[in-house]
Symmetry: C2
Subunit: 407 residues, 2 copies
């Protein structure tokens, strides 16, 4: 297997971009990545294009990447449109990595773009809701009247039907948060502290959706979304794009890429079958990289809701089981701490335009390892990890991804 | 690069399947392919799942492959949801091939499935219409009133707005057919003869959508769809799935696969940039396979409309430019001829459930090379080609694929 270098990355600001098309967002990120790599678009040999819901929010399906990239200077190359819910862009990055690592291509492009917002919010929430098994969900709904009446608080909100003002995923995250509170003794204040940290990081990131710091009280007093989750503990809806140019070490040398950020591990998995896919993917990534949690200088993780980040500290073995809240409270995961997590602001504050998220994580870690992260730079960062999850099927997440990058 | 073996293929009957889910179709084809390969699903290392429009016809998006394959015995493996319009399944097959050819995996699965029909036909036609650049199309429509009034016959029907009882693609094919008539002197009778041949082939294929032979007069007298195209000259809407198990030669030996059908060339391209991508893809496929048109024993080609097949004889260099109609009339491309084309019945008669088509072509060629094509067997077939195209952007088809399989 050959070394794969992330030669350049780019991203738009994440925000509500009502007046911009998927094409406009994708092309901005693509151009920035190509320019950063010093690569001529005519030399790109394949494009892996991630998008999750634009078919439902814009009506464009089937050839989303070709439509988005039509004026990018690419010529005749295959375009693979890839969809894997919130991990779509990680799947595209993984395919791009594999194509270079195993010698099919020398220089490829991975792009993730999303138009998630829609003038009718119900369209957005319905689109997000397609990341679950709709047929089984409908079957379960039909079967429900025969069973005991649903409770009205906590996890049962996950089955509360279609009339809601947030995505069903926040109900899943709320149920998971309640379990975590029971297991670890975590409090709502602990969850709020994640949001405070990530907003503080985002204040240093010009491309983040929310650049205004918030206080613990502001997070706790924002409106309740589901169970223990308040609005500021949930990732927002937004639009945006991110891109990466990947190449062989020889191609990176020809391009004059410095410093060379290497993909030390690229793992993609699913929760198909009764496996603990999340933990397995993390273990596999550490093993393939030949590195462990103590080696990480920073991580970008899937904080679609604040409590998820605390549990991920534990899954990544940055701290022991149940120790997530204390690890955060000690400042270990803030800028200046042992292993800053979500220096970009994370999904909570940088934003979460679904199909772009995985590559935005890659962009942040790449900038950090290149020493180009500006005011939020982790000094001397050499090893970074991204963790990204997408969708839900009966036996677990539909898609899971862990990447380790090194300098 | 390693040899890649198509260890087993499967497909559902193509038809309108109003009562079957995408999952049910995908699982039938997957099981048949795994059984044919003698492969345990637990040994499959990755799945590449193609679908084009089920997001629009069923509402399920983002994780279509995971939802479809959830009970297939797969465990924890990555599932890549791939979309490339009518070439979606060829793109999935290409990714699966690359993963084995370049040594990432030893045993993988490619599945293409489609739910194209919908109780409301307008939903189906609108879904098919998403394989063009909708933004540019809308811009063009807005610009139109300022120009001369549109003609009411021929190619201008391609711009006739939304109220039609067929997909906009048949307007593209009609425009192309008119150009071909001018260039080659082809007649409507020549086009009808393609449909007659492919229906005759489909009569021998238990998995074809239309198994009733038709006469030249019946084709000519069926209702006009667009320009010179009548209904029987256009591929039908339908549902179905097809699948292939691909593996390394060593894995094929372990499974006891006989005879071993090898992927001699796998080419995927796009019309991005001003390149003659269709011709380039064919040339590249011949070159990589080290074979030429004279070596082909059969071909499955993208006869979404009948005239396309005649032009493809020429693009594939089975005959000279403008000689397609004569080549057909001489019986060269019928069963018993020099190089039977679309022995399955092709898109015209076997059917064209968009996201399944590329793998159904692979299935037909594999069965032919294995000697398992029953009443439509091409005796001693050793070399077969598939050609598949998808979608349309300003500069050409959005996706193009050519595969060469050998025994």
């Amino acid at each position: 297997m050959r070394d794969v270098i992330v030669a350049g990355v780019g991203m738009t600001r994440f925000a509500k971009h009502p007046d911009r098309s998927l094409r406009s967002l994708a092309q901005e990120a693509t151009k920035e990545a190509l320019d950063a790599a010093g690569a001529d678009p005519a030399g790109v040999q394949a494009a892996y294009f991630a998008n999750a819901v634009a078919g439902l929010t814009t009506g464009q399906e089937m050839i989303r990447g070709q439509v988005a990239l039509v004026d990018s200077g690419l010529s005749g190359i295959p375009v693979f449109n890839v969809e894997d819910a919130c991990a779509s862009a990680s799947a595209a990055f993984h395919l791009a990595w594999a194509a270079v690592a195993f010698g099919q291509y020398d220089l490829v492009l991975a792009v993730g773009a999303e138009k998630l917002t829609h003038p009718d919010k119900a369209v957005t929430f319905r689109a997000i809701g397609t990341a679950v098994d709709l047929e089984r969900r409908a079957e379960a709904a039909r079967a429900r009247p025969a069973r005991a009446p649903a409770k009205t608080t906590g996890p049962s909100r996950a089955e509360a039907g279609a009339s809601r003002d947030h995505s069903i995923f926040m109900d899943f995250y709320a149920a998971s948060a309640l379990r975590y509170m029971e297991e670890s003794g975590a409090t709502r204040e602990d969850f709020a502290a994640v949001a405070v940290k990530n907003r503080a990081h985002a204040a240093l990131n010009p491309k983040a959706q929310f650049r205004q710091p918030v206080t613990l009280d502001e997070v706790l007093n924002s409106r309740t979304v589901s169970g223990p989750l308040t609005l500021f503990m949930c990732s927002p809806t937004g639009d945006g794009a991110a891109a990466a140019v990947l190449c062989s070490r020889a191609a990176a040398r020809r391009l004059g890429v410095r410093p060379a950020v290497k993909v030390a591990a690229s793992v993609l998995a699913s929760g198909l079958g009764a496996v603990d896919a999340g933990q397995e993917a993390i273990r596999a990534a550490y093993e393939r990289a030949g590195l462990g949690p103590a080696d990480l200088d920073l991580a970008e993780v899937h904080d679609a809701a604040a409590p998820a980040e605390l549990r991920l500290y534990e899954s990544l073995e940055l701290c022991g089981d149940g120790e997530g809240p204390g690890f955060l409270a000690n400042g270990e995961t803030g800028l200046g701490g042992r292993v800053p997590v979500n220096t970009s602001g994370g999904l909570l504050a940088k934003g979460h335009p679904i199909g772009a998220t995985g590559l935005a994580q890659i962009a942040e870690v790449t900038w950090q390892l290149q020493g180009r992260a500006g005011a939020r730079q982790v000094p001397g960062a050499r090893v970074g990890l991204t963790q990204n999850a997408g969708g839900s099927i009966g036996t677990g997440p539909a898609a899971l991804s862990v990447h380790v990058l090194t300098r």
